[in-house]
């Protein structure tokens, strides 16, 4: 070994150290300095943005409440075979009594009830009721019978199977629920037909978002083209018309669409007045998908027009003139010369609109009725109303992953370098 070193001999720097080492050291220092410079921003983003999101997303698998509230019961249940069809023995009931006494003192039993009620309907009131009476139980008596007397569910092996199934500190329950499945006696199984909702909603959200993006593109492209090609004075006027709704409150714009689109609204009244539709056959344009598509296309339009416009402004008009002077028709010149150069703007606008649309919440809620609501409306419901934050987090994770996958696909197919915001 020592011999070999002597033969090849590392190149030394001026201070006698191997050059490789001192180079690496210099680079490391440089990197450290760069890191120090961005550290304030990095820490700020980590603390105020990444950490809260990570914490929220972590709730989608967190299940510590069951083993923490019922530690003895969970341990005692290990010996119980949930396929036996029999409720567990006296030992488990004694453990349950102990756990519940502690839980009632800490007022944790109802919390546990809410958690387990997501998996089995009725556990919430079971635990509330049992919590009220557990103090009055006789320690030496037949505990299984005493529990069964409080509520017959304690004699039902299904209740115990649910507790055992969700006794880990981490659970797949929320994610399974978010894809219309559940953890049954025999493993993962699909939910009954009449409870499958989330996959359907994810699909609808994706499809409607694509429709809205395409609609924005079709309407926004000519507007951006006009903005970029008209003389400055006229185009500035047009620009204000584009920006004015952009600066108006979202709620005001959504409510305005309600006034316009409803069955006794302006558009229907006009159509009836002109005799185009009969009074009995007024068009249903709101509280359904049509309403969501119309209102969201309008609201997201500026996000399409502005990137398109800023890219189109950089396309030299001389290219079109050159194409025409070489014999191209108007259409050929546009399609072969102008359009390809505007593609980066289309990419930027489409990504922006699509990603905004996929997480949109307030407009679908107001004008979407039942057929035009998005997955985000369900997430909001679980956050603010049902308090099932675990499920909301699981749905959020899935939505996030779907967007990231689509972004990756976009990068693979079109290339993210081709996106330009100006």
């Amino acid at each position: 070994m020592a011999n070999g070193e002597n033969v090849s001999g590392p190149i030394l720097a001026a201070d006698g150290r191997p050059l490789r080492q001192s180079l690496a050291r210099a680079l490391r220092l440089q990197k450290l300095r760069a890191l120090m410079l961005i550290a304030p921003l990095l820490i700020f983003i980590l603390v105020t943005f990444a950490a809260p999101i990570a914490d929220m997303l972590f709730r989608s698998v967190e299940n510590a409440i069951v083993p923490e509230t019922l530690p003895l019961t969970v341990a005692a249940l290990e010996d119980w075979d949930d396929a036996s069809g029999q409720p567990p023995g006296e030992k488990v009931f004694a453990a349950l009594r102990q756990d519940l006494l502690a839980a009632v003192a800490a007022k944790a039993h109802t919390k546990l009830g809410s958690r387990l009620n997501y998996e089995q309907t009725g556990v919430a009131s079971l635990l509330r009721k049992t919590g009220r009476r557990v103090k009055r139980m006789e320690e030496d008596g037949d505990l299984a019978a005493q529990f069964a007397k409080i509520h017959k569910s304690w004699a039902d092996p299904e209740t115990w199977a649910t507790i055992k199934r969700f006794s880990n500190a981490y659970t797949s329950g929320y994610f399974l629920n978010a894809v219309d499945a559940k953890l049954g006696a025999t493993g993962i199984e699909a939910r009954p037909e009449n409870e499958r909702i989330y996959i359907f909603l994810f699909e609808r959200t994706l499809i409607l978002s694509v429709v809205i993006t395409v609609a924005c593109l079709l309407i926004g492209y000519p507007v951006a083209f006009l903005l970029a090609t008209l003389p400055m004075r006229t185009s500035n006027m047009l620009m204000i018309l584009v920006l004015l709704p952009f600066w108006t409150s979202l709620l005001v714009r959504t409510s305005a669409w309600k006034v316009l689109l409803q069955q006794q609204g302006v558009i229907n009244d006009t159509l009836v007045f002109l005799g185009i539709v009969g009074d009995g056959a007024r068009l249903a344009m709101i509280n359904n998908q049509t309403g969501t598509i119309i209102a969201m296309t309008h609201i997201l339009l500026p996000f399409m027009i502005l990137p398109l416009y800023s890219v189109m402004r950089t396309i030299p008009p001389s290219y079109m003139r050159a194409a025409k002077s070489l014999g191209a028709t108007d259409w050929t010149a546009f399609w072969r010369v102008y359009f390809p150069q505007s593609v980066p703007g289309i990419g930027a606008g489409a990504i922006l609109v699509f990603i905004l649309a996929i997480g949109y919440y307030i407009t679908p809620e107001l004008v979407g009725g039942t057929s035009g609501t998005f997955i985000s409306n369900r997430i909001a419901y679980h956050i603010s109303s049902s308090l099932n934050w675990g499920l909301a987090a699981a749905l959020g994770v899935i939505l996030l992953v779907v967007v990231l996958v689509l972004y990756w696909l976009y990068d693979r197919i079109i290339g993210i370098d081709n996106v330009k915001l100006g």
Partner: protein
Amino acid sequence: MKLRTFLAAGAVASVAMAGAAQAEDMTIVSWGGAYSASQMNAYHKPYMEMNPEVNIINDESAAEAVAKLRAMAEAGNTTWDVVDVVASDAIRLCDEGLAMEVDVDSVLAAAPDGTPASKDFGDFLVTPCFIPQIVYSTTFGYRTDMVGDTPPKNVCAVFDLENYPGKRSLEKRPINNMEWALMCDGVAMADIYDVLATEEGQAQAFAKLDTIKEHVVWWSAGADTPQLLADGEVVIGSTYNGRLFKLIEEDKQPVAMLWDGQVFDLDGWIVPANLSDERKKRALHYLNFATDTQRLADQAKYISYGPARASSAPLVGKHATLGIDMAPHMPNEPKNMSNTLLYNYEFWADYRDDIDAKFQTWLAK
């Protein structure tokens, strides 16, 4: 030297003032609009007159109260002192340990005749954390000019497309709608929740709702149905009785009230758990005043929700600006109560997630 003394004195004074201001501010969370105004007139103003050192801050975010309280508790910084919530949310907050349990008789005032508060509120004390304030109901209003010569008398008119064609508005949630569907499908009032607890019962309710599904506008905000009725978008629709009162008596719209089949619900106060002793004491002091017999009766001068105390009912007077007798407009007026249901809190606490998933699936299909 002088300057320094002056600055120090100023600093001490401002710290003292900040401390004082903090000690006197009390944040009360409620629903906003006419409802908050009624509380302001009936409770907050007289309380602040009697206790000039207290400054009540009215926060209008009761609609998100449950989620916000949980977030505040997790952050360890609860900034609210008293929160107005519906009873089902109070139960949830109590279950989650986010609301404080209150010993009603030691905290609240007895009725003028000496009846203890627990008796005066009676069955309305649905959870140990909840201090009831008003009884409201979800009931139907209909357009008088769109129902011909036979105005509906029965809640089942909602399901009667033949005699009452047109759109109807229902709340976008299973609660109440499932009950009405069963009620109009021949299930006896007393059996509704037993039936609804079974798969078959739920299927039966959905089948009944299916018959009108295409004619329903689903609402999620309390203001929706009054607006839809005023615009003539729907012929009949469910909403809170106070909203209909305003639509009929104040806005003079051609709408009438259908008390039949109304579902009682309660709204009241909770005190967040883990408040400092000082704030807790202040909150309870306020609640003792705001939920006494006279104050609850006073609120009915401004809004048509019934006081939750039995002893307040005889004291309900005339509307403060309209000058009409309020008693006939109370949901718990005996004349309006021939066919009513009380929101079954226990049942919905258990079945809400389950039936809601089915309801949403049903809606989406």
